[in-house]
Assembly symmetry: C2
Homo-oligomer: 196 residues x 2
């Protein structure tokens, strides 16, 4: 299924849009049209496994890092190598297509936000807080936002930095508190909590 995704990606890259029929797509992936739809509910979903695999690599690498290593540092390192590996494959070519093709961008955004659950789990393990806590979720959201930002900007003509550096800088902007232990107890916002 990942291989099917790969071959589909190849087509997307060659044509730079999703402007071709599922018939072609399926044929290129060596599947019948009906089988294609069995794997991927919608045409564009075919790129999901490819991106998922990429994200999973990051999660694994961070999880493999020694516990003594600060979370943020591990994340930056994992992204750096993921981007580096990605560029040897087709990431670099894929990103513009992902950004510029509406239907693909929609899927990409979905995949990235879906990945936040895994990120939150990771954060939770490291910081020893519940995975459903606001801090874990927010940290995950910030991480994926930084990742997305890095990818969006990296291929801009005026941008001189590579995705890894962009990711690191973006994260550096938010301050350390979010990615450290303690804090989960006291509520930071003394705003009036009008319930409903």
């Amino acid at each position: 299924m990942l291989e099917a995704s790969r071959s589909v990606i190849e087509l997307f890259l060659r044509r730079r849009t999703s402007a071709f029929s599922v018939k072609e797509l399926a044929q290129h992936a060596g599947l019948a049209e009906r089988t294609f739809y069995r794997y991927f509910p919608r045409k564009e979903d075919a790129i999901r496994p490819y991106i998922d695999a990429w994200l999973e690599r990051i999660v694994c690498e961070v999880r493999a890092a020694p516990p003594s290593r600060p979370l943020r540092e591990a994340m930056v390192a994992a992204h750096a190598t993921a981007f580096a590996v990605g560029s040897t494959t087709q990431w670099e070519a894929l990103l513009p297509v992902l950004n510029e093709t509406e239907s693909l961008r929609a899927v990409w955004l979905q995949v990235v936000t879906d990945a936040e659950a895994a990120f939150a789990q990771l954060v939770a393990e490291r910081l020893e807080i519940p995975a459903g806590s606001l801090q874990a979720r927010m940290a995950a959201a910030v991480l994926s936002a930084a990742g997305r930002l890095a990818m969006e900007r990296a291929h801009l003509p005026q941008e001189q930095r590579d995705p890894g550096a962009l990711f690191a800088e973006s994260l550096a902007l938010v301050g350390p508190g979010l990615f450290e232990k303690r804090r989960s107890v006291r509520r930071a916002a003394p705003a009036p909590k009008k319930r409903r």
Copy 2:
């Protein structure tokens, strides 16, 4: 067009899915099917104007706040009132549908990230930095992530806080640096910048 969106929203709410034909949708909005597609490229895009209007309200309110008011405070206040107003309309009922219906969620994510450009502009004005700067973009991304998080969590059964409070708390977690002036000069990440 916003009114068309409203009437479509009404249908989405009543049925809790996008499981009905464009024919119905158009008819309910008082449009011919062909005209519907002229307004909204895809079926689900019909909810865009509705959400856009809601986001625009926030931007306007923040822009109207006195310049002396800290950006983050203004944002929190704007979100609080926007959520409050929203609950008198149909927001509260809409959010679960938005989260649980795949095709609608995709549109929602798109709208929210598209809104980041406007947020970045806002941040840029307040902090007197370029709207395209990494800080402005990252701040915008964090703001919209916090908003999204607040909406996602607010309707969870175990969640006791209202969206406004959740938004405030989420933002409080990231520390103040991102939403303040100065800082744009020095680079925070001394990572090796291997360009390609």
